[in-house]
Structure formats: C-alpha cells, structure tokens
C-alpha cells in the first residue's frame, strides 16, 4: 500500500483544485501526523495582509509564518506581533536580510511590468550552506463576466561555490490559476488548477565585494523567475485553452462522425491512388 504522505499528495492532485485548501484541511483532520509535511509541500492560493508599518500589502505563506502571524518583507516584523524573543530567532538579519530587501524591490518592479498591479513578496532565510527563499506574486481580476486569479510561488535553494564566483540555483515553481466565465451563451465555465515545474542552473556571481555578490544573486534569481514564469504562462495557455478544448472535442464531435468517416475514406483513397 502506498505511503500515506504520497497518497495524500496523489489525492490532492486528483480532487478539484478549486477546493485544495478545504481538501488539505480534510486530509489533515484525518491524519494530523501528516500536517507539517503537507503544509510545507502543498501550495494553496495565497492570502495577503496589510503591513501596519509601511501600509503596504504583503503575501502570506508557510515560509513567513509563525503560528498565525506573518512576517512583513517591508518592515521585517511579524503581524500580529509575536514574542520578541521568538522574533529574534525568526527575523533574518545581515546579508540574508540585505538580499531580501533588494530582491523585494527588484521583484516589485518586475511585478509592475508584467502584472500591472497585484501584490508581490519575497522571503529569504539562511541555510547551513547558502540560503533559500520564496518569491510570490498574486493578481486577481474581474472583467466582462469573467473572473480570474493568478498565484505564483517560486521556491528556491541557493548553494554558493566555495570560490564565490558562481552559485547553484534550484527552483520549484507553482502557478495556481483560476478562471471562470458566466455568460448567457455558456452559463458557467470554470477552469481552475495548478501546475508545478522545476529547474536548476549554475550562474556566475560577479564582483568581489559582498554587496556586488549580493546584487548578483538578486539578478540571477530575478532572471530565473522571469524565465520560469514566461515558460509556465505558455504552458498554462496550452493546457487551459488548448488541452481542455481538445478533450471536449475528443468526447464529442461537432461534425457528424459519418461525415468525418467519409472524408477520411476519401482522403485515404487519394493517398492510395497517389501511391500506385
């Protein structure tokens, strides 16, 4: 019998993606022992919070969470505040925080260019060797009888070469895309789901000073996220609009099948004649 954790992931890959959060809660209520592993490996639609210090919204995920508080990338403080001693252990400082600040500003520009709105947040944390992080985007729209929401979650792991001349980047990206249409012509159409893709690469780090190397990481991460999102956007377009339409066409043919058959026979006859 399959491992319960694998079974939980398989189940979440099958049940309606529009209810992933609800199904995740359901599985956890059945198997509380899987809670921690599931929360750190299942992506759900992002929520946002207002940072009281900066007045700006930030995105919440398992990586900036402590209990029911979330750390704002803008103020580096938890909202609602947590015990100062706990916070001291959880709030990044030094190099990691400097890169986090720079990454947030860079990603903010990227967001404005590609999303023309929405919310973005980036969180970094130190690892024993190197560091890890997550870059998040969320945008919702409603226009002309349609509704849509896009959540992208990019989790990365960075290992620097001992020479500090290059680093290895591992990226796991998930995009959660929900689209819906209500109109007189189709009544209701819901297309909801998520796709996950992984990539890794070695990229050079330029400069010798710490600040240059830090900036180099931001550039490398930014470019990798941009490439991945562009690739995934194309993939989503293919799956959501191409694949869905093809499957409907496989279920039912608008053109009568007898005509399709006759055309195929005629076509075959032409080919046969040409071959003779």
């Amino acid at each position: 019998m399959a491992d319960p954790f694998d079974a939980a992931l398989d189940l979440l890959r099958r049940l309606p993606p529009s209810s992933t959060q609800q199904n995740l809660n359901g599985i956890i209520s059945l198997r509380p022992d899987l809670e921690e592993d599931l929360l750190s490996s299942v992506d759900v639609a992002l929520t946002s919070k207002r940072c009281p210090k900066s007045g700006r919204d930030f995105l919440c995920c398992d990586y900036n969470r402590d209990g029911s508080s979330y750390r704002s990338p803008w103020s580096n403080q938890f909202e609602p505040p947590i015990d100062p001693e706990d916070a001291a252990d959880l709030i990044p400082g030094g190099r990691v925080r400097r890169m986090e600040v720079a990454l947030n500003s860079a990603v903010d520009v990227y967001r404005e260019l590609y999303y023309e709105g929405g919310t973005s947040s980036a969180y970094l944390w130190a690892l024993e060797e190197g560091f890890a992080g997550v870059v998040l985007f969320k945008k919702t729209s409603s226009a002309g009888g349609g509704k849509g929401s896009w959540d992208s979650i990019h989790v990365l792991e960075v290992t620097e070469a001992t020479s500090k001349r290059s680093a290895h980047y591992k990226l796991t990206s998930t995009v959660i895309l929900d689209l819906g249409l209500s109109s007189a012509a189709v009544d209701s159409l819901d297309l909801a789901g998520n796709l996950t893709r992984q990539t890794q690469s070695d990229n050079p780090l330029s400069g010798l000073r710490d600040s240059e190397i830090e900036q180099s990481h931001v550039v490398n991460i930014g470019r990798m996220v941009e490439d991945m999102e562009t690739r995934m956007r194309n993939l989503l377009q293919e799956v959501y609009f191409g694949k869905a339409k093809d499957v409907v066409g496989d279920l039912r043919s608008i053109q009568p099948l007898s005509e399709v058959g006759r055309e195929r026979d005629a076509h075959r006859e032409v080919i046969n004649k040409m071959g003779r």
């Binding site: 399959a2 209520s29 896009w150 789901g193 409907v248």
Partner: protein, 264 residues
C-alpha cells in the same frame, strides 16, 4: 468540524472522471478503517455521474436517479431488465426480466432508437438511457474518454426531460475535464438547455442542434478567457516588449512611471 466519514465521503463524491479507483486507493492508504462505511458516497457518485455498468449480454447500462427501483436496484428500458448494483465496484448482478408499465412505452422505444442513432453521429463512445417519470421522459447520455497514460480524463453528461403534455424539453449539459501532468487542472461546465419539439426524431434533432451550438459557444469561451481574463492577469512581455534588465533594475525604480505607474 466535519466527521471523518463525511470528509472521506466528500473525497469520493468529488473524484474526477475515470479516477474513482485512484481516489479510493488514496483514501484506503490514509484511513483504512473508514472504507467500510462509504456505500452511500459511492451510490451518490454513481448516480450523479451516470456510472456505466456492464450487463451479462455485454451491453452497457446506466446508474442514475431516474432508473432506480430501490437502494441498489436499477432497471434498463432498452433491454427490459432490472439488476442489482454493487456501488463500490460498479458491477451489476441478479438480472431479471423487467418490463416497464408506462403509457409511454412506445415513445420510449422510438426515443431509444432515434437518440442512439443521433448520439453515434457525435459521440465516438457514449451510453444512453431513456426512462419514464410521471408525465415526462428522462433522456440521458454519458460519454467518457479516459487517457490516464497522458494524464487526462473527460466526461460529458446530457440530461433532458421531455414534457409530454407541453412538448417542451428542459435539461442540462455538463462537461468535466481533468488534466494532471505535474499539476491538477480541472474544467467544469454547466449549461441549461430549453427547447420545444414533439416526436422522437424531431426532439433528438433539436437536442443535437442545441449541443452543437453549445460546443461552438464553449470553444469561443476558451478564446474569450485566453484573450480576456488570462491576458489581464500576467502579460507575456512588459509593455516595452523587452524582458527585464535585472542588472539595471535599480534604475527602473527611479522612473516610477514604468508599467502601470501605480503609486507605491
């Protein structure tokens, strides 16, 4: 909070087309003890999804709310038999002669003939059912196409009620598509249909017309979504038609009017 049993039942009831056995295997692995009490969840799933059972003759019949005799007994008007269903395994047994006592038996027979022929013209593979209920006749169809090796499965369900006194037909078309290669994407649609017609051939012709129209509208809706909501979420390229120059992103920040120019 929901009970364990109702949580597991909701998983079974929302299984995608063709994946009931996979969902069941996952549930078994998570909570082996809860499997015993799921009979009614399977029944609910089977009736809602027009599950297909194989008869002894090799022909297929449907499990629906419209041909239910009792808890696990159903009948088939095309073959004039009744059968018992094991809801968990979707298998039929105890077949018995069953002739319906309906003043509309003749209409049911002609609808069967016309609808079977018309369905074969548009569905490469489908199963139909025609069942009487009060003063109307239920006209049902389910078409499944499963391609688990390519990580997708699909189902089309049509439900029509022909009112014999008003010659009106009301019903719905539901399409359900699941794609799950390194992800989980689900399309569900629901369309109400209303038309009026009399005579088996004419009714069936109107149904085919309505379904063709719906399928064309659905194809157009994909384009509407792709060109509308989807484009509005994330651009393929920035307005500048150029990718981000990450080395110079600090400079972008100075010119705050790039992109939408929202205040920060």
């Amino acid at each position: 909070m929901a009970s364990k049993q109702s949580t597991v039942a909701s998983f079974i009831e929302s299984a995608p087309p063709g994946e009931l056995s996979n969902v069941l295997a996952d549930v078994k692995s998570l909570v082996p003890k809860e499997i015993q009490s799921l009979g009614s969840a399977f029944k609910k799933y089977n009736e809602a999804q027009y599950a297909i059972v194989k008869l002894k003759s090799g022909e297929a019949s449907l499990i629906t709310p419209y041909n239910s005799i009792s808890e696990d007994k159903y009948y088939d008007t095309a073959h004039s038999i009744s059968f018992r269903v094991d809801h968990t395994s979707q298998s039929a047994s105890d077949e018995e002669q069953h002739t319906i006592e309906s003043p509309h038996a003749g209409t049911i027979r002609s609808l069967h003939k016309s609808f079977a022929a018309a369905s074969a013209e548009h569905f490469p593979s489908s199963t139909i059912g025609i069942f009487p209920s009060d003063n109307s006749i239920a006209i049902l169809l389910v078409a499944n196409k499963y391609s688990p090796q390519n990580f997708w499965n699909g189902r089309w369900r049509s439900t029509y009620h022909l009112n014999l006194s008003s010659n009106s037909v009301t019903g719905s078309i539901k399409v359900d598509v699941h794609y799950y290669e390194d992800g989980n994407v689900r399309m569900t649609t629901s369309k109400k249909v209303e038309l009026s017609s009399s005579g088996a051939d004419a009714v069936v012709r109107e149904i085919a017309k309505a379904e063709n129209k719906y399928q064309e509208e659905l194809n157009r809706a994909f384009t509407t979504l792709a060109e509308g909501s989807f484009k509005g979420l994330r651009r393929q390229l920035p307005v500048t038609r150029q990718r981000v120059e990450w080395e110079k992103i600090g400079g972008y920040r100075l010119g705050q009017d790039i992109g939408g120019g929202r205040s920060k």
